[in-house]
Subunit: 581 residues, 2 copies
Amino acid sequence: MYRSHNCGELRMEHVGQVITLAGWVAKRRDFGAMTFVDLRDRYGITQLSFNEAYNQDLLNMARGLGREFVIQITGTVTERSNKNPKIPTGDVEIIVESMNILNTSLTPPFTIEEETDGGDDIRMQYRYLDLRRDNVRQNLILRHQVAKHVRQYLDHLNFIEVETPVLIKSTPEGARDFVVPSRMNPGQFYALPQSPQTFKQLLMVSGFDRYYQIVKCFRDEDLRADRQPEFTQIDCEMSFVEQEDILNLYEGMIQHLFKEVKGVDIGTLPRMTFDEAMANYGNDKPDIRFEMTFKYLTDLVKGKGFPVFDAAECVLAICADNCASYTRKQLDELTEWVKRPQIGAKGLVYVFCNADGTYKSSVDKFYSQEDLKAWAEKCGAKAGDLLLLLSGNTAQVRKQMSELRLEMGQRLGYRDKSVFKALWVIDFPLLEQDEESGRWHAMHHPFTSPKPEDMDKLETDPGAIRANAYDMVINGVEVGGGSIRIHDKVLQGKMFKVLGFSEDEARYQFGFLMNAFEYGAPPHGGIAFGFDRLCSLFGGADGIRDFIAFPKNNQGRDMMIDAPSNLDQKQLDELSIGLKS
Amino acid sequence: MYRSHNCGELRMEHVGQVITLAGWVAKRRDFGAMTFVDLRDRYGITQLSFNEAYNQDLLNMARGLGREFVIQITGTVTERSNKNPKIPTGDVEIIVESMNILNTSLTPPFTIEEETDGGDDIRMQYRYLDLRRDNVRQNLILRHQVAKHVRQYLDHLNFIEVETPVLIKSTPEGARDFVVPSRMNPGQFYALPQSPQTFKQLLMVSGFDRYYQIVKCFRDEDLRADRQPEFTQIDCEMSFVEQEDILNLYEGMIQHLFKEVKGVDIGTLPRMTFDEAMANYGNDKPDIRFEMTFKYLTDLVKGKGFPVFDAAECVLAICADNCASYTRKQLDELTEWVKRPQIGAKGLVYVFCNADGTYKSSVDKFYSQEDLKAWAEKCGAKAGDLLLLLSGNTAQVRKQMSELRLEMGQRLGYRDKSVFKALWVIDFPLLEQDEESGRWHAMHHPFTSPKPEDMDKLETDPGAIRANAYDMVINGVEVGGGSIRIHDKVLQGKMFKVLGFSEDEARYQFGFLMNAFEYGAPPHGGIAFGFDRLCSLFGGADGIRDFIAFPKNNQGRDMMIDAPSNLDQKQLDELSIGLKS
């Protein structure tokens, strides 16, 4: 060992001990006869003290230390005259008696501090230096903790972690696969799994009963800001269970994680149907850290001569607490905000609920004080509040209002990242219809089971069939989702028919699963959590990138290792493939 | 929940309780007025009893149950008149009161029993049925246990599990990479990692200090019987440590695993240098469950007129205890065995150490009783033993004798799979020379650090330089290996030169690691364990295949899902690649 202690553990109780530390030079401060060095390792920072009174040679050597040099020192732990209450080791310093420079360093291209001066690109290119920053390292330690407690919880409940294969079979349905040419089977390709879905169902057929895996998955999609081509899932499946069992078990898991990792009691998870979520929040992943739920004013606003509302299928309001003080400028800005193409509203109607009990709105021309009072009452608004109204086609206006609600929540500080509110959204529709082709798609996936009581709608009203499908939502983020699967081959056959798969297509794509289902498939269901997303949520961050050790950029490139890259012709030849120009 | 208990837990204490079970019909036995069904799930087997005296309808229904039907039953736990001491639930049976057939099953293509009638191919094609067999399932449960205890041990020691990327950069050096065409970067490819070697070293540069990962790795090699294109490693790295620290820590890990998983105290691991291993066992992964070490008779046998020995560089003997009773036929067969091309010996010389103190050898024509006695003494042979001698070039004869030693150990029952003997092999040579090209290769990998005291041989005698490299060997199987890495860029430069890399080549292949080393790399080292192999060893098996849920065959095919497979032209076009005919 190059050290007797680490840089985070020395305290007053160690004073007088001769110890050895090793780490990186975080900072050097030179004074007349003295030099102080902050020595950093994964565990913390310890101050080293060099003084010409003790040892002139060592002082000179210390003054040659650059940032990020790796050194090993031996010295005596001493009480500091000038204590630093900001760091755990701040009561002591080390009077250095010998020093060994283990490695030098070029000057890093950015400062290794929480608030670095490095931009995203340079941080990614030098990710190995970026990872020295305490906050980034803490993110990965958090990730490790979350994984550990997931395993602890599931292991304790008799789950078995089973590794499913990475080199599997490509299916043209769904998102795009990454593929791997097979040298030994020329012209053929493996695919990387988008999820272990079929394998976990096969494990249920095998009798594995309670399976989980923290597993890498792959999707060759055009990357949005916060998507990665490789991502990690907590993938779970159980047999002989009903939806209720799964909800309870994973509610327990998230409670366990919050308790162990964050010291937070997240409480019982409310359950909200998909229909309720859409009606009250315009969103199947509602952020319930704050209320501001949708109020339907459609009936109240009609027939008063305001053509926009008269023509609207739906008129929605939200009530922003204590915002009657908004200026004209703020409201104009908000109106512009909802009219941006990303939101797409035609305009914004507002009503001030004044302190004196009067109302002032942008549609005073059409509506009396009595009218506005009725609106305010319907919205539960009190004096000092602001009503914001949008109108239009129900689906569209819900979507727009959802955005506005989240924006107002943000502006009003209701979306505190240190507050966590989780819920289950249940009773998702089984199918959704493609607007152009009119074809029905599985909302979750084609193995999701319909609710038995809705099955009679399969021929008549497929869109009304609810599924035994559920999402876990925390702070407006879908962290997990799953379903009870179809284990009956007759029902599965019907589903494929509704989804427009011919028997051949179904057999080609899911043949091995359908074969397996001929041999005694048990009732089963499961759930998968987005592990990167869950970690970033625990870490109070918006993006997942800093919760992944070596992430890729939006072009799918690893800037540090410069991948992907060209292959030798020899490699291409061996794989029996060629490049198209 | 479809059940109140599982099929492995009911005991005498449950007698009288009404319970619900769900599982698979393992066996049905019909008698006059009764039918017994063995109901199986992951946890065990419970006997169900149907009797016309209780319920004729249920009995009829039971008689319609086929093998592997999935059923749910409710009934009363009752003491069995005919107890089965072979299974934990054998004291009780369930008098079934109601039954629900959850799913039917086709007749499986092989029996779902420990000793199945299914051959390898059919088992792999129907792996989901094969996994229902208790022994195969137990293998995967064992695998889960080993992983769990690895994590437990390393977590406890402050290791952090960090996920390294799967889509990385191809390097033409080393084994062949699997590659992944990038759609977004046309003409470019990712590679799948053969190991996270460079990433774990980068994590050390990042200050991550104690890293591990149980991780999938990939190698596109022509598959030998027991190789898989994707395999799992326990990958570890530490900073500020010396070889001694690593050996101690992972010796602790293997002791922990054997204790927790097998209940075995594997004791302290002896350390053997590579030179000792080669000299005494002819093998750098000696099976030390038995002695039978090599004795060098070269000096004793020369000059007595036996031309073969006189011409030999090396004459080696092993002593097989109590084998003087071997028949002529047995020895002829053994002689044929060593002459097979896989072994390649020219012949086998033997000496019986007779009970009466005389000797009888195949070379009596050349050697006196005195001569043979001297050999026997050198070999520590006692009356009743058999000496087996091989001769030739030292390296070759060691290799041949190693095979013969293992074969004799096998025949004599010394290689008991329930006995575990582990050791460290240390002081490996840093370099090995390619016989044809004369070029030096890194024996471990190009970042392995030489022993400082051997560094003066770098220019003069590279083959004599020992490395800070080590393997853990259990029962003749290399289960893990690692090294202290070079953290100094000057030394690394010298190494690349010896290995014949130009500066450009080194930079192209390892540029990002070499760049990282410019910024304060700490001293570090690590080890990686073959997880599949370790599990099969714990399971007392020869092959790894049954310790992998969904393995591939020797052509790299997954027989169950039929991968790899052809791609659509559209997929190829999107990836900007074409097939070569």
